[in-house]
């Protein structure tokens, strides 16, 4: 089973990396890119049977290691390869 974890800085937290990219894009004349936020993206390969187990495990791992709840929030997508659907 595959889980995708997206970790982003919380809305209220200033994102220097995203801001720098936005600035760079503006000097390259991409003015239509109004704002950029940068986060981290993880693909986990999990040795579990069900989508629920995958979600639970990915959640635990994100909570304990992948994200710092003080500044970040995360979102999880589980892909059941047998049926090819993202949940």
């Amino acid at each position: 089973m595959k889980a995708r974890v997206f970790v982003t800085l919380k809305e209220s937290v200033f994102d220097p990396q995203g801001q720098t990219i936005a600035d760079a894009l503006h000097t390259m004349d991409y003015d239509r890119v109004r704002n950029v936020r940068q986060g981290k993206y993880f693909e986990l390969e999990l040795d579990v049977e069900t989508v629920d187990d995958a979600r639970a495990l990915a959640n635990e791992v994100a909570d304990r290691l992948l994200a710092n709840p003080v500044i970040e929030s995360y979102r999880i997508d589980v892909e059941d390869e047998t049926i090819g659907v993202s949940k």
């Binding site: 801001q19 720098t20 600035d23 760079a24 000097t27 390259m28």
Partner: protein, 747 residues
């Protein structure tokens, strides 16, 4: 078995003659793995086939040389039972296609070369060349390269203590990234990349092997289908954390005597390390590729042998000591895996399980590598670019505005933007602040310090490769001497175009001659180096760019000097004669937009006396600062001595050297003309007399005198002021020359 056709040979960069030699050595047709092994071992990169004949002429011996070229790095004795192990290497092409990782893995590679020798790396430097920063793509490459160098060095905890960076259009499509590393080892405890003792196990340690950096393209064989070349990334990703673990584990292992020999897997990975270790020791090595830790499935022996995955080492250890070795690596969470054994039959034998996929006489692979004396020819451009008619220059700007322009130019401006991104202090040995001249690291537990400088000027070498190369040696050594250090050893990185073109080969041959001449005269043995050919885009070669790295010793670390004038009232002397010339100068390029003319000559004898004098005066504590006149000439050097001093100015007086011709040209030559062997020093008023005497005894001319003080930079000729600028204005121009090219929201 595949038949070898001409396409296969082309893909592997092997000529018909080279293939004939392979047939002779083997007495049969090579297997795919064997052709791969020959192709990388006989590549320009590993065999130095076009350069060897020239490099042989370099001086490599001296009383202090402990290890000359041939090992992973050279070494010189620095006293107190210590040796300095150092080398420079290029990572130009990878840094162009993936700036961050290309530069980072370059740093990783040179660090491995140093700790492989049993030395703890204590300093990094880098020499960089880019096109103009007006180009957005170039800015992106620069940002990536600098971040990559910092990313690797900072993380592994080795300070980047210095370097140089220059900008010329010629490097736009072919930037140069040369990295230098120096380490420290106990004398007599160097570890060699040599295998010996039949029956001793061969260990693999470090990162797993993937399909990284395999260049030998597709072969007409089921083994090498299109898809597998698709899967081969051209650039590796660096893992400084892994390297830090490897570094500590290897150094710990070297404290035991369980190790026979060790070599890092750099270019040509497992192939190069097994065959070189075997041939150095005159033994055979027998390995089984199925035991090599692999990152990907389905790798062929060919791919495993040629992979350039990073952060890997090959070791031979004494039989019976295996458990001890494995325990040390386990402590650092690394696996040491036995992949084979040393034999006494001299063969490099590669097995895949039960079958032998390659069997090559080790010695012949190394010793019978091709060696070419390629034709040379004077390049056609030379006559034209050497011609310079000074009288025909347009009216020159006022000295003050020319100086401001030069100070803000990329060649001269503060490189703070660069070195701020490097941790230059970790390990608390760096006793020269960043950006003040040579990098200086103290040797804890002794009174000594080492000073290091890397220098080169491609524009000079373009105009005159022989003299340009000599100037690079002289400047690197002089920068070290300006820190108060006696230059004792050198390494070089030779960046050139395609050696198959006679004009390029001529540049190369002339440059190597120049390096040899200068090093002999300055008693600077070359203990190693690196050649990077084929630096071209669209058939247009870069400026010939030899970069010299020079290491010097300061006997008493507390006498280290830098460029900054002291705040007290001091006397200034310009040591060394030889008025500057505008030919090939930064002034001519930046202010007049021309690259032309002849460079000022170098007297190696004067240079040597000047450097010895500097070391003597510094050791005696008789001078307070020293800075050489380099890019931008005297006026720029004088201004630089005033920067970072808190705004103290300087006033310099020179006799008029009436030369006839246009007065603006004559003045510009004096202020901004360039010539070697000129150094500005400051002296406490009370020491002035004794210094003068020592200078006289040394036979070094004094070209100008002055005082520090005030808040302006002034120069007068025979009592007439020809330059008068406030330090504040000058320093402001100098500080922002590089920063202004980058969006910078930060403090």
């Amino acid at each position: 078995m595949v038949t070898i056709n001409s396409k296969t040979l082309d893909h592997h960069g092997l000529s018909r003659e080279e293939y004939q030699k392979i047939l002779e050595i083997l007495g049969r047709e090579p297997s795919p793995t064997e052709i791969g092994i020959f192709s990388v071992m006989w590549s320009e990169h590993c065999s130095y086939k076009s350069s060897r004949i020239h490099l042989r002429t370099l001086p490599t011996t001296g009383a202090r040389v402990v290890q000359g070229p041939g090992e992973n790095a050279g070494a010189v004795d620095v006293g107190d039972g210590l040796v300095a192990v150092f080398k420079i290497e290029s990572h130009n092409h990878p840094s162009f296609i993936e700036p961050y990782q290309g530069a980072a893995t370059g740093v990783g590679g040179i660090i491995r070369d140093i700790f492989t020798m049993g030395a703890r790396p204590i300093a990094l430097l880098n020499s960089l060349r880019f096109g103009s920063l007006n180009d957005a793509k170039t800015r992106g490459i620069l940002e990536g390269v600098v971040a990559g160098i910092g990313g690797y060095g900072n993380s592994i905890g080795i300070p980047t203590v210095g370097g140089e960076i220059l900008f010329e259009d010629t490097y736009k499509g072919n930037p140069l990234v040369n990295v230098f590393c120096l380490g420290l080892a106990q004398a007599g405890k160097l570890v060699m990349g040599e295998a010996s003792g039949a029956g001793n196990p061969v260990y693999y340690v470090g990162a797993k092997t993937g399909r990284d950096g395999i260049h030998g393209a597709t072969m007409a064989s089921a083994e090498f289908d299109e898809q597998s070349s698709e899967k081969r990334p051209a650039v590796q990703v660096g893992d400084p954390f892994m390297e830090k673990l490897l570094l500590e584990a290897c150094l710990e292992l070297m404290q035991t005597n369980a190790l026979v020999g060790i070599q890092d897997m750099g270019a040509a990975g497992l192939t190069c390390s097994t065959s070189e270790m075997g041939s150095r020791g005159g033994v055979g090595i027998d390995i089984d590729v199925t035991r090599v830790p692999q990152r990907e499935s389905g790798m062929t022996p060919y791919e495993i042998m040629l992979s350039e995955s990073q952060e890997r080492m090959l070791m031979v250890v004494h039989r019976g000591r295996e458990a001890e070795v494995e325990r040390i690596f386990k402590k650092w969470d690394l696996h040491a895996v036995s992949i084979g054994v040393v034999t006494d039959d001299g063969q490099l034998r590669v097995r895949e399980g039960d079958s032998v996929v390659a069997e090559i006489p080790n010695g012949k692979l190394a010793d019978e590598a091709p060696c070419y004396n390629r034709p040379t020819e004077i390049p056609g451009y030379l006559e034209q670019v050497r011609h310079l008619d000074l009288e025909a220059l347009p009216v020159l700007p006022a000295a003050e505005s020319a100086l401001l322009k030069l100070l803000g130019s990329l060649a001269v401006t503060s490189k703070h933007w660069v070195y701020r991104q490097y941790d230059h202090m970790v390990r608390t040995n760096t006793i020269a602040p960043a950006g003040m001249g040579a990098g200086v690291v103290r040797l804890k537990g002794t009174d000594r310090a080492l000073a290091i400088s890397v220098d080169g000027n491609g524009r000079h070498c373009y105009l005159d490769p022989h003299l340009g190369a000599m100037l690079a040696v002289a400047e690197a050594a002089r920068n070290v001497a300006c820190a108060g250090a006696l230059p004792i050893g050198a390494t070089n990185c030779l960046n050139f175009g395609n050696p198959e073109r006679p004009e390029i080969m001529w540049q190369f041959a002339r440059a190597v001659e120049g390096i040899g001449e200068a090093c002999r005269a300055l008693e600077l043995p070359i203990t190693g180096g690196n050649v990077s050919f084929y630096n071209e885009t669209d058939g247009q070669a870069i400026y010939p760019t030899p970069v010299l790295g020079v290491v010097g010793v300061i006997e008493n670390a507390s006498s280290v000097l830098n460029r900054v004038f002291p705040s007290s009232q001091s006397a200034i002397l310009l040591l060394g004669g030889g008025s500057g010339v505008l030919g090939g100068s930064e002034y001519l390029k930046t202010v007049c937009g021309q690259v032309a003319g002849s460079l000022a000559p170098l007297s190696l004898d004067s240079e040597r006396r000047l450097q010895q004098l500097l070391v003597e005066l510094a050791a005696a504590g008789l001078i307070q600062s020293a800075h050489d006149c380099s890019d931008g000439g005297l006026a720029v050097a004088l201004a630089e001595c005033c920067f970072d001093s808190g705004g103290a100015g300087a006033d310099l007086m020179m006799p008029d050297d009436a030369s006839g011709g246009r007065t603006d040209v004559a003045e510009a030559s004096i202020l901004f003309g360039e010539a070697p062997s000129r150094v500005l020093v400051s002296i406490a008023e009370s020491d002035f007399g004794i210094v003068r005497k020592k200078v006289e005894i040394a036979g070094v001319p004094i070209a100008a005198q002055g005082q520090t003080g005030g808040d302006r930079i002034t120069i007068s000729l025979a009592g007439r002021k020809v330059l008068d600028l406030s330090v504040a204005d000058a320093e402001a121009a100098w500080r922002q020359g590089m920063e202004r090219f980058f969006v910078n929201r930060a403090a």
